[in-house]
Amino acid sequence: MTFSLNLAFSDLLLLLPEIFLTCWLCVVLIVDFSFPRVPQERLAYLSVAGLVVTLGCLAWLDMNHVSGTLFGNMFVLDRMAIFFKIVILGATILVILASIEYVNRFTLFRGEYYCLVVMSALGMMFMVSANDLLSVFVSLEFATLGFYVLVSYLRDDLASNEGGLKFFILGVLAAGLLAYGISLVYGETGKLVFSDMASAQPTPGLIIGFLLIFAALGFKVGAVPFHSWIPDTYHGAPTPVTTFLSIAPKAAAFAILLRIFLVALGTFKPLWVVLLVAVSILSMTYANIVAIAQRNIKRLLAYSGIAQVGNVLIGLAAGTKMGNDAILFYLLAYLFANIGAFAVVIAVSQAIGTDEIEDYRGLSRRSPFLAFAMLLFLLSLAGVPPLAGFIGKLYIFVAAIKEGLYTLIVVGLINIVISMYYYLIVVKQMYINEPIDPSPIAISGPMKTVIYVGLAGTLVIGIYPQPFTDWVVSATLMFANFVGPSVTIIPPGASLGG
């Protein structure tokens, strides 16, 4: 099914998930205003219901292979966009479920919390569909707006306010860089839509423009020279918000990066490979080394997230279709492991009130389930078989080695070992050390659901990845046109193994 540029009523089908979610957001907001006595759990479930319907709608669009562009190529709905939307909505649902208990800590505006979360999700859905630089800017700022509020939601907590302020100042700086970059690119090429830029010449202005755009997106994903806001913001923000922040905006920003690098800049590959290799090496090495020194689990996971971004950038540096598949797959694996790990952090902090790694002493005696779940999530993040993270890392390495990025792979492999050290430090606290206070830890129902979903995802993807690899391969089919074939030459008569 393709659609014309003139906006017909049927064209709105492409926007159906967004339109529905916007309406639902208003419903939630109105319910919150009109019935102030409705407990916040109800609002949470109401939002989840809307998100689930949106998810179903997306699945329907995906199954019927609906795709097309709207508004003069500003908005695109292809299978990759649908993949990212599903990831973002899945993350949003899990984050809302993980928040239900935590929200009671907020003194005011409990209902609005869910509205803001859904609003950010909506913004990110537009981000992954952005097909030109203007819609990138608008949707990115729209998505970030909600986060500015969410990060400082703990009004009386200094760390939360500090985190919010840092996030805001650096976020606005990033927005400025992005706007400036866009203006330079537009000035050089006269084009805004990605696919029109493919024939552009690499003039200095254009290169600077794209570097600025890359810097702005680097802020969003938290790659190393642009990572400085991450530890403080992750530390200060309410933990469910940290969870959300650590997954959804990263995924959305990677969708934009994929479109920019592979569609708009596909012809400049020799130039940007160097940039990506450098950023990737820096991200992995710096984050993994600094993570060793962390005493707070949220900061540890913040640095681990930076390192994971470095891993994803390996796939981007490969710059092939297989690299994209690997990125999508990796993000899927990362989604489950990271949400799960943060859910355990929330559950533990609800029970014992702190996020220090010291306080995880003897968790396996206090709650064998939480400790076991955390063990699997951390090992998946570290990349240990048979968990999802291992397959994700291997997929990325295979994609990269086909492009001959040996240095990057060696650094990536060494970093697996470094990261194993600090993940195992947490495991040591949980399993080897004896608890000071051996009282058991209770877990609420929704939280259990989140952790079970995380465990299921981590194990199923790790043990039987075929359906997921099929999904990501079909999701990035449109890149096959832009990306050249892999340099690997297959000898004749040796078409074994697919």
Partner: protein
């Protein structure tokens, strides 16, 4: 069961671990019996496998292949040849014995059995993988359970840095000291083990990825790669690619073996681990290294192996002598056995380095034999530790009064470890020595010295533990009386002596795996002979013209690598 035997062996422990998750720790008997029955299924299936394996047919048998990831070219490809079969058997015997050895664990028994089963299943998985990806998958999977087993149920290694010789002078394990940072805790031992093994494992992974890329076949399947991958004569960094891959793979896997300069994680790990874990660790986990080298380096890079294997011949001397001397001076029972294991693994490397039918078969049989012998010794060291709560040899003594059964078994274990005629170790040792003599006489002399050393330190330990005056502090110690406690020792002793007296089937099976491999590497067709003068010779055919593997036989292609291959030695 028949053709699915490998699946039973591999997945029975996993299924047992899964079932244990749903059983409460408040039912200790149920927990143990679930673990034991999972191990028993695995043991039965691997006994079946061992005797159903047809050495006359040779090649990979019981092959199972399931597509796992089309995009990455991975399939769950399982199969055993004459090298894998005895090692699978050894793993399941040690798992079964290990469950009974740890029968009295009280603290979090359920978790203990879960991790033990996963550890054993992962090692079994390596021995039957015919896909590089799954080989690495199971290899790396076996490391994490070690961390938890050491950390949660292990014990501190107090006396590590304080080994005195007979005049009371302090001695130190130099390499261990450099990498030790002075810590003797079990947490340290566990972390060192994981980081050490993971570091070298990723080196091996890099080698595997390079094989994957430069073969250009988009597959990790060992059988396809060994026939069709042409990795020779690609110049890289002033040398050739195959050498780089070989070094990565060899040292990556040799770390777990443990070859001499890479051994320092191993004795610390042995000493910190609980008895059953030490058994699996020394018995089969260390063999993952040799096995993976054989499977990856020998199969895929035969010419490079012929060229580079002298490295192993040099290093194995250090392994044998160094391990032996440290074991002689160590005062901690588990240190003695741990260093003796790392010394004995030097023989395996010697047998592998000589690249000869006799010596390589000897090396494989030695792996099997050593698994039994060292399993016994660790089980009994664990028993003595449980009874006396010390592993310090000078403070023990005269325990044979209290535990006659254990001391008799210990004598047998020592005899087996030394290689007394009548035990399967003897056959293995003699084969390694005879087979390597032509090529490496110096190493063989060193290996002889190693046997003398083994005799010295094992007798010293035996005397220290069981004979001489008894320390009255340990008068409460008692013998292994119940059937549950005796069973594991009796199993291992009977296997060790049984195969020592009737080695024919084991020998035939091993030869059927070794012969085509050595033929590939040296391209000399031998006249294989079993003790009865019959057996496998008809199956040894020049590789390249036909394959012992039916799976890929239809897709064989003549490749330049086979043309360029040198004509023997």
């Amino acid at each position: 069961m028949g053709e699915y035997a490998l699946l039973y062996i591999l997945f029975a422990p996993f299924a047992g671990a899964l079932a244990l998750i749903f059983i409460s720790n408040r039912q200790p008997l149920l927990v143990r019996s679930v673990a034991a029955s999972a191990a028993f299924v695995s043991l039965l299936a691997s006994l079946y496998l061992f005797y159903a394996y047809d050495p006359v047919k040779g090649g990979f048998q019981f092959v199972q292949k399931y597509e796992w990831s089309k995009q990455l070219g991975i399939s769950l490809h399982l199969g055993v040849d004459g090298i894998g079969t005895p090692l699978v058997l050894a793993s399941s015997i040690l798992l079964f014995a290990g469950i009974f050895v740890s029968w009295h664990i009280k603290d979090r028994a359920k978790e203990f059995y879960i991790w033990l089963l996963i550890l054993a299943a992962a090692t079994i998985g390596v021995f039957m993988s015919l896909d590089l990806f799954f080989l690495y998958f199971f290899y790396e999977m076996s490391v994490i359970p070690m961390y938890l087993l050491l950390g949660m149920w292990g014990s501190h290694t107090k006396k590590y840095l304080e080994m005195n010789d007979s005049e009371g002078l302090k001695l130190r394990d130099s390499v261990g000291f450099i990498l030790n940072f002075g810590s003797n805790s079990k947490e340290y031992a566990a972390m060192k083990l994981v980081l050490f093994l993971s570091t070298f494992a990723v080196a091996a992974l890099m080698g595997i990825l390079l094989i994957y890329k430069f073969s250009g076949l988009n597959t990790f399947d060992i059988l396809v790669l060994r026939e069709q991958a042409n990795l020779m004569n690609i110049p890289v960094l002033g040398t050739t690619l195959d050498k780089i891959i070989w070094v990565l793979v060899f040292f990556g896997f040799a770390s777990i073996a443990p070859l001499w300069p890479l051994h320092s994680w191993s004795p610390v790990g042995h000493a910190a681990a609980p008895a059953a874990t030490s058994m699996l660790h020394a018995g089969v986990l260390m063999k993952l290294g040799h096995f993976s080298i054989i499977r990856v380096a020998f199969e895929i890079l035969p010419e490079t192996t012929r060229e580079m294997m002298p490295i192993a011949a040099v290093l194995c001397m250090f392994s044998i002598v160094y391990g032996g001397f440290v074991a002689f001076y160590a005062k901690d029972t588990k240190y003695v056995i741990g260093y003796s294991s790392s010394s004995h693994m030097g023989y395996v490397f010697l047998g592998m380095a000589a690249l000869n039918y006799i010596s390589l078969s000897g090396a494989v049989i030695y792996m099997f034999a050593h698994a039994m012998a060292t399993g016994m010794l660790f089980a009994m060291a664990g028993w003595v530790y449980d009874q006396t709560h010390t592993r310090d040899i000078p403070s023990l003594g005269g325990l044979s009064n209290k535990m006659p059964f254990i001391s008799v078994c210990f004598v047998i274990g020592c005899m087996a470890s030394i290689g007394m005629p009548g035990t399967v170790n003897f056959i293995a040792e003699i084969m390694i020595i005879v087979g390597s003599w032509d090529k490496y006489p110096l190493q063989v002399i060193v290996a002889m010295l190693g046997i003398v050393l083994t005799l010295a330190y094992l007798f010293k330990m035996m005397r220290g533990l069981f004979y001489g005056p008894m320390n009255q502090k340990y008068s409460h110690a008692h013998d292994a009386i119940s059937a549950v406690d005796r069973l594991p020792l009796l199993i291992m002793i009977s296997i060790s002596i049984g195969f020592g007296i009737f080695p024919m089937h084991l020998y035939d099976v091993v030869r059927s795996g070794v012969d085509p491999l050595v033929a590939r590497i040296t391209r000399v067709v031998p006249v294989a002979q079993t003790y009865e003068g019959s057996g496998v010779r008809s199956e040894v055919i020049i590789p390249g013209t036909t394959s012992t593997v039916p799976v890929v036989a239809s897709k064989l292609l003549p490749l330049p690598s086979q043309v360029s291959r040198g004509e023997g030695e």
